[in-house]
């Protein structure tokens, strides 16, 4: 009798523990993967291959970690659901916030997990002309190639910006409760480089 009760107790504990671990696993965001340039080798046409690689890169560019700070308006968005930033902060003249509410007042040099506060030494919005919100991948592609709307960069410079810039890199280490951008920054950089080397073609849509 005693051993039967002990067995029932052990089974119950095991069942609870299993369900807890399962729930934990499910609750964790499964990171999206990013294809490598080699995955597109089967596309014979160079322009088509280039455009396909940009479409893959679009998974990064349209991810909330990137899109939230490339808004169409003057308010950043936040969260995986890209809700309007609360508190209601504004872009300000330089993209670093209003004079009495600079981004850096709350967003310090690194993520602060006890406050669930993301951080980077240069936390700010992308300029208005670099707004991606509401645009298709094709439109973003055209915008990235336009020096008037990409900070005066040549497409080659995008390799460093996307592949090595540390604020961009935050997108892959955003802290708890936020899903990281697909793949890794290195993989994204490789895609950009391959895209540039194949002529930086834009997808049709």
């Amino acid at each position: 009798m005693k051993s039967e009760l002990q067995l029932q107790l052990a089974v119950a504990v095991l069942a609870v523990a299993t369900s807890m671990f399962t729930g934990y696993a499910v609750s964790q965001t499964v990171p999206q993967s990013l294809a490598s340039p080699e995955n597109f080798a089967s596309i014979a046409d160079t322009e088509a291959r280039s455009a396909a690689m940009f479409t893959e890169l679009g998974k990064v560019l349209t991810h909330p970690r990137c899109m939230n700070c490339h808004p169409a308006g003057d308010r950043p968005r936040q969260g995986d659901e890209s809700r309007l930033h609360q508190p209601p902060v504004m872009r300000g003249a330089d993209g670093h916030g209003l004079p009495a509410m600079r981004c850096s007042i709350c967003h310090k040099h690194a993520n602060f997990e006890p406050g669930r506060m993301p951080g980077h030494p240069e936390w700010h919005l992308a300029p208005r002309e670099m707004a991606w919100e509401g645009k298709t991948v094709a439109e973003i592609c055209a915008q990235l190639k336009d020096p008037a709307r990409n900070g005066g960069r040549k497409v080659e410079e995008l390799i460093h910006h996307i592949g090595e810039d540390t604020l961009v890199g935050w997108g892959w280490a955003p802290g708890a409760g936020r899903s990281p951008a697909p793949g890794t920054q290195k993989q994204a950089g490789a895609l950009v480089e391959a895209w540039v080397k194949t002529g930086a073609a834009c997808p049709a849509q």
């Binding site: 508190p87 009495a100 007042i105 709350c106 310090k108 602060f112 006890p114 406050g115 669930r116 506060m117």
Partner: protein, 174 residues
């Protein structure tokens, strides 16, 4: 663990060794026992936790402490609500808050006091026109949430202080 040094209400603290994950709010309240600064929403939304940060260039701003680490305040000069009174005498703003009975439970009051103080100091350097005063006060206090009062008496108290010393805070003859 990181060593921090900072100045609070004119007094230097440090070097003090603190955990990297210690919030500034906990540092003030739990570590230093300065409970004037409150913890409310924990998300930098209500600004009950706001303290004044004094920059070397003479400007000041309010900063939440609930979502910021103590370490991030290393080297900073700050003022909390405990530092507003001087030699036992309440500040003009504190007296106005009492005179107008601007607060009820008092939980948001330190944040409002700090914000109001920053506004007064800003206006003393850059006065505004009387016609712009209401919007100026409203914009300055915007973001501070109060569940009790409806905000009106906070606004009136701040306005009262400014109008009582209009030569300092307002553009002359406007």
């Amino acid at each position: 663990m990181t060593k921090v040094n900072l100045t609070i209400n004119g007094r230097t603290y440090g070097p003090l060794e603190v955990r990297d994950e210690l919030s500034m709010n906990d540092f003030l309240r739990e570590y230093l026992g300065m409970t004037g600064t409150k913890f409310s929403c924990g998300a930098a939304q209500c600004l009950s936790c706001a303290v004044i940060v004094d920059e070397p260039d003479g400007t000041s701003y309010t900063s939440p402490t609930c979502v910021t680490s103590a370490v991030s305040f290393d080297g900073k000069t700050i003022r909390t609500v405990e530092g507003l009174a001087r030699d036992g005498e309440l500040s003009a703003l504190q007296k106005a808050f009492i005179r107008h009975f601007a607060f009820q439970c008092g939980y948001c009051t330190p944040g409002f006091l700090n914000e109001g103080q920053v506004l007064l100091e800003r206006l003393a350097k850059a006065p505004v026109k009387r016609a712009d005063l209401e919007n100026t006060i409203a914009e300055a206090l915007d973001g501070h949430l109060c569940r009790c009062t409806g905000y009106i008496k906070y606004h009136e108290a701040v306005r009262d202080v400014i109008l009582a010393d209009s030569r300092r805070y307002l553009v002359a003859n406007q």
